[in-house]
């Protein structure tokens, strides 16, 4: 049931990204172009999403119950605001601004058949793997 739930929610996520045109880097870069011809679409996408997650996650926490198909909630354990967080978010911001693709839309946009997007995802996955290796070696 865990895998089925993941498959179904992944489907909803991909559908949502496609309906909202977030698979198009031009829309994302348009949103980031705050001092140029600003495209507000991404603000509505993020707004719509947290309109559900803010009350929904609060309710999930208040239930004091287990998830439907798992033993426990896997809430992120870290809470400190440290250098890796800021540096990582900043690097991600630069990459997001250049390409207009973040991980979810990049993976979903492979369905367009664009070899450029597929190459983007390959480099992104290799970078995840390499960064994990470096972090593991340093700790």
């Amino acid at each position: 049931m865990n895998a089925l739930t993941a498959g179904f929610t992944g489907f909803l996520f991909g559908l949502g990204l496609a309906i909202s045109n977030m698979l198009s880097p031009a829309r994302v870069i348009g949103f980031l172009d705050l001092f140029g011809t600003w495209d507000p679409t991404l603000a509505l996408v993020m707004g719509g999403a947290i309109l559900v997650t803010i009350p929904g996650f609060a309710w999930a926490k208040s239930r004091k119950d287990k998830p439907w198909f798992a033993g426990e909630f896997s809430w992120p354990s870290q809470s400190e605001i440290d250098m890796p967080l800021i540096l990582g978010a900043a690097l991600f911001g630069v990459g997001w601004a250049i390409g207009g693709l973040c991980p979810g839309p990049a993976i979903a946009a492979m369905t367009s058949g664009s070899l450029e997007v597929i190459a983007f995802v390959a480099v992104m996955i290799a970078s995840w793997w390499a960064t994990d290796r470096v972090i593991a070696a340093r700790t």
Partner: protein
């Protein structure tokens, strides 16, 4: 603002509601956070097969959702602004950054803001602000 613009904005809101619903259902069902860099990135690590199955299914679902949209409407808006080496450099920045910062637009944005995590709020403000400054420097859609 034309009707076409209104439809684009409405579709944005509708898609956002779907994405939020997806994240909430994944949390309620499996107890997991719908952060794409975390879910997909977890597949590159050595892990028990039970941990891999749901991750792989989420990624397959993500592809199937976009493919279903493409097949049912016959078109998918996908316009690249950057191509070639610059795009692959961007991919490396996205990969390294989301691993170091442990989250992307979905994990820190949709889910982290959803659970009102100060850490995620700082991350989200940082990557959006840095991205806006970067676009200001290198140019927008017509760069």
């Amino acid at each position: 603002m034309t009707l076409a613009d209104d439809i684009i904005l409405f579709r944005g809101l509708l898609g956002g509601l779907l994405i939020g619903t997806s994240a909430l259902l994944l949390l309620l069902g499996t107890g997991r956070i719908a952060g794409i860099s975390g879910i997909a990135g977890g597949l590159t690590r050595d892990a028990a097969s039970g941990d891999r199955a749901w991750r792989a299914m989420f990624v397959l679902g993500l592809l199937a959702g976009a493919a279903t949209y493409l097949l049912s409407t016959g078109s998918l808006e996908m316009r690249l602004v950057t191509e070639g080496p610059a795009l692959y450099v961007a991919a490396a920045f996205v990969g390294i950054g989301t691993r170091l910062g442990q989250g992307c637009t979905s994990g820190h944005g949709v889910c982290g803001l959803g659970r009102r995590s100060p850490r995620s709020l700082v991350a989200t403000i940082t990557f959006i602000a840095v991205a806006i400054v970067t676009v200001f420097i290198i140019g927008g859609v017509a760069r």
